[in-house]
Symmetry: C2
Subunit: 276 residues, 2 copies
């Protein structure tokens, strides 16, 4: 569910952009588990001053993405009210043939912690334009069959999402600055110029990256430590690049090993929906 003023700004973003993002976020949830999206129900609460063209714009933004993922828009519920735009997409997915869904609780001490892509500064545009990593997740699951231990998409921020993965797996995740430095996006660097935070902090906490965070069995990773790597699918038709950013250990919580070898706890600081 995306809400005006929280997940988008209806004064700035077009209905097409908002509709696309609503579906993309749900497809990213399918990528997170390496499952296959099939059907989507779309439900909206439209501000009562919206025109029919604006309402249609939401669907125009969704349709190319739905088609690209063979995910059929099957219905939903259209409402109007005097408050802000709310758009909800509920995707029904199924396991890919021969693949089990991947969960967040399967990390074990010794596993490598990895991410796809680069992180941080998503607010500058990436959060509206990202490609949901459905195919990447499928390729990871087939390329690392049996050795992909856990996976999530990074929606609320690496620091929050990695802490959740550590908690669900009852272990520590130790990120290494040497690895994280490789996944800092240009947008994170640009954002750091506009505020008092470092590019690394942007990469850790900004959120809405919609990249994949995953754990590999110790024998799966080709590197002996942080660094870039790639995996080829068994059919040889796809290569997925990824970066090893840390390792799981016995313990709890999320930790950072900095360049000088000091270890400190990372306080999750991405987006949290707060309830008193």
């Amino acid at each position: 569910m995306l809400m005006d003023g929280v997940d988008f700004d209806a004064r700035i973003h077009t209905p097409q952009q908002i509709g696309r993002k609503a579906l993309a976020v749900s497809l990213s949830d399918c990528a997170a588990m390496a499952v296959r999206p099939r059907w989507v129900s779309v439900t909206v609460a439209l501000p009562d001053n919206w025109s029919i063209e604006q309402a249609q714009g939401l669907y125009l933004g969704m349709e190319p993405l739905a088609e690209a993922h063979c995910c059929r828009i099957i219905g939903g519920d259209t409402n109007s009210w005097s408050q802000g735009l709310v758009i909800e997409t509920c995707v029904v997915a199924e396991p890919w043939p021969g693949l089990e869904p991947v969960r967040r609780g399967g990390v074990r001490p010794g596993d490598w912690i990895c991410v796809t892509g680069v992180l941080g500064g998503s607010l500058a545009g990436h959060h509206l334009e990202f490609e949901p990593a459905v195919a990447t997740a499928f390729n990871l699951a087939t390329g690392f069959k049996g050795r992909l231990k856990a996976m999530m998409d990074i929606s609320d921020g690496l620091s929050i999402d990695a802490a959740r993965m550590a908690r669900a797996s009852a272990c520590t995740i130790q990120l290494e600055e040497a690895g994280l430095g490789l996944v800092v996006s240009d947008a994170a660097i640009a954002a750091s110029r506009a505020d008092h935070r470092t590019p690394l902090e942007h990469a850790l906490h900004d959120g809405e990256d919609f990249e994949l965070l995953f754990a590999l069995a110790p024998e799966a990773a080709t590197a002996l430590g942080p660094g870039q790597a790639a995996v080829t699918t068994p059919a040889g038709n796809a290569v997925v690049a990824y970066t090893v950013i840390g390792r799981a250990e016995k313990g709890e919580g999320l930790w950072l090993l900095d360049m000088s070898g000091h270890r400190r706890r990372i306080e999750p600081a991405g987006w949290q929906h707060f309830v008193k």
Copy 2:
């Protein structure tokens, strides 16, 4: 999707009442097609001044109803924002074994138009307390197997929903005052005392009755005109009472035959979510 100020009033209604209604409305959509609810995803946008107890209240209101219908709450999305409460339930349903889903477009000239229960005045309390007609719909579909031509639940109001059924079926629906008089609720009579509208107008236009509106093949109805009737399931374990309130004819639109034999068009006037 239910929204504060439209489908409930969070100042008056308890979280339990709101949660129950949200699920009940979606289960009523399952009743409308005579299908079996199985799983439900629950997504909320909570006002940011809500407590965790209020949020939990929504689920406490849903759980007994979900259990009674063997419909499992499987997940969803919890958000907060600075605007009004929004709650969305997305139910995944499947056909009952041996039964095809019933649609709204199957009415043919000569069919009897029927409703279960009584209509009007729902705002006095029925809209929060109604039992979704899932079992009634199953019993109608088995009792009238092959002769139940079309069905809907009455959510926006008989006048709107019957007009939609007529349009989807490309025929006229003619309601008869002689039949409608039998389905005016006590709440509709009470409501008519408080305003300038008649009990019949309340029954036609109030909405949120969540009763079943359905069409029977000519040979299925025991009556030769408007009146009360009942059907027993083949297994003999259930009897569904219903009222014949009109008939389908060639043509278009929704018409009312009054007691003096005059025929006039009914303008749909229930709840409409308006988009400019």
